[in-house]
Amino acid sequence: MYDVVDYVLNTTFNLGAAGWVVSLISYLMIATVLFLVAPLQMLFLTYYERRLIARMQDRVGPNRVGPEGMFQPVADAVKMFTKEDIIPAAADKWVHLLAPLVVVAPTMFMFAVLPWGPGMTPIDMHIGLLFFFAVSSISAVGLMMAGWASYNKFSLLGAMRAVAQMVSYEIPAMLSLLAIVMITGSLSIVDIVQWQGGLFISSSDVAGVPNWGLGWFVFNPVGFLAFAAFFIAALAEGERTPFDIPEADSEIVAGYMTEYSGMKFGLFFLAQYVLNFLLCAITAVIFFGAWQGPGVNELYALGITPDNPDGNGWFNVLAGVLGAFYFLFKTYAFFFVMVWIRGAFPRLRVDQLMDFGWKYLIPLTLVNVFSAAIWVGFNNWGANEGFGFAEPLGDLGRWAVAFVLTLAINIAAYIVMTRIYGETRRVTFDEQLADTAGLPS
C-alpha cells in the first residue's frame, strides 16, 4: 500500500510528500478498509448463523427482507440504531458509555495481522500471533467495565463470569499455540502460513514434498490435538455454546449486556461476532494454512514478488482472489461448526467450565507441548542437538517416527485424561457425604 500511495502522490501528482505522510495515508487507507470489512463480516455472520441454525431445527429462518432474507441484518441494524438508548439511573454514566467501545476496539485491531492471501497481510509483524492474543485480552477490561457500570446484579455476575472465562481459557489457547510456535520457530503469522505448504506433510518438515498448499498442521498429531484444544478454547473465548455462560439467557438474562440497549447493545453484538469471525479465522490460519491451497502458490510465483519483480501483476490478483477464497471458505466452515455445536448442545455450568479448562484442557495441552518437542526433535534437530541417531532414517523416516510417537502419546493422553476427568465428575454419594461429615445439624 505504501508503494502505491507513494507512487500516486509523488510520481503522478508530484506533490513531494514526506515519507511519514505517505505512511500515514497508506495506513489510514488500510485501516479504513479493515473497519469496513469488520461490520460487514458481522452482518453476514448473523444472517449466516440464523439461517443455518434454522435449517438445523427444521425451520426456514429469516427470509422476508430482501432476497432470501439477505437484508435481515441490515434491518436489524436499523432497528438497533433507532432504539432508545437507556442508561440506568444508578449506572456510572461514563464507564457505561465507554465499555462497549473498549470491547469493540480490540477486535478491530486484531484484523491488522490477518493474512487474507499471499502477500495480503496488512502488517507482517514478527510477533503477529502474540499481538493477536494480547489485543484480544483487552476486551476483558471492557466487559468488566460494562458489568460494573450497569449497577445490576445480573450484569456483574455476567461480567465476572465472562472475565474469569476469558482469562482461564487464554491459557489452554496459548499452550496449544505454543506447540505450533515450537514447530515453526516463529511468531509471525506469515511464517506460520508459509510453513504449511506441502501435501499432508509439510514441505518444511520433509523437503521435496509436492507443494500443493496442503501441509496443514491438522494433518499431524501435534497439530491436531492443538487444533482441538484451541478450537474449544476459542469457543470459550468467543462465548459460544457450550460456553456461552456469561450471557446465559436462561440464568442471568443477558449477562453484562442486560442493561444495554440500542446501539450500545449493538456494539457488544458487533464485537462478539467480529471476535467469533476472528477466532475462526485464526484457527484457519494456524491449523488450516489460511490461504494455502492447491494453486495459490503456483499463481503467486508468477506474479510480482520480492523474488520475482518482473512478474505479471494479474497473477497477484488471481492468487489473492483464490487465496482469499480459500481463507474465507475455511473461516466460514469453522463458523459453521460453531453454529452446529450451538445447534446440538446445552451449555455447561460455570464451575464445570472452570473445571474443564483447568483440569482437562491445560494438562492435555501441556502433554501436547511435550509431543511438539518430540516432533521438533525428530524433524528439525541434527547431531548438534543430540538427535544424531535419527539422521540415518532420512527425512521421511524421521517424519514417520515422529508421527507415530506423537500420535501414540496424544491418544494415550486423551483417553487417560478423559477417564480421569470423567471419574472426578462422578463423585459417589458417599464421597459427597464424607465431605460434609461432622456438619452442624
Partner: protein, 217 residues
Amino acid sequence: MELLIQIIFFLLAALILGAGVMVVAVRNIIHSALWLIGSFFGVGALYLLLEAEFLAVVQVLVYVGAVSILILFAIMLTRDVSGQGERLLFQRWWLALLVAITLFAAVITPTLLAQSWNVVPPTGPIEPGQPTGIAGALELGRGFVHEFLLHFEIAGVLLLVALIGAIVIAFEERNRRRKVLTLAEEHELRKRREQTSDANASESALSAPGHPISQSE
C-alpha cells in the same frame, strides 16, 4: 517521520502522565483502576514507538490483559461493589506526593547522571560485534536461558511461592468450609444419625419431617 514520531511521543507521554495523575486523583477506586489501565496502555504504545514490539505486546498482554483484570477483580470482590467508599490516602495527599517524588527521584537521578547524552543513534545494519538490544522474542528467550538464567529461575521460584501462598490463603480446611447441604445429603445424614443414635427412636421420628416411610414390611 521524526516529527510524526515526536508528536506521537508527546501525546503518549501526556496520556501516561495524565492517566497516572488521575489514578491518584479520582475518588472512585474503580475509576482509579480504569485510569491505571489507560496508563499501562500508554506505556505499551511507547514501547511500540521504541520499536520494541515484543515488549509492547507483552506489556499489553500482561498488564492490561491480566494484571489490571486482577486488580479490578480484587477491588470488586473485596469492597462494596458501588465503590463509593472514601479513600484513606486522600486525606494526606501531600505526604503521598512527597513520598512519590522522593522515590521517583531516587530512581531517576542515577539514570540521569549516568546517561551520556547526545549519542547518535545507530543507523544502518548492526555490526556483528555490537551487542543488540533485546527486543525480539528470540533474543529475549536466549537471554533468559543463557545470560540471565539465574534471574529467570529466581523469578520463577518467586512466582511459585506466591502461587502457593495464594492457595494457602484461599484454601479453607474442609471441615471449616461452608457448604450448603442439598436436600438429599441432609436427608441421608439425618437418616444415618437416627440409625446410629438410637434404635428405639422410632416414636420421635414419627413427627420428624421427611420421615422415611416403611414401604414394604
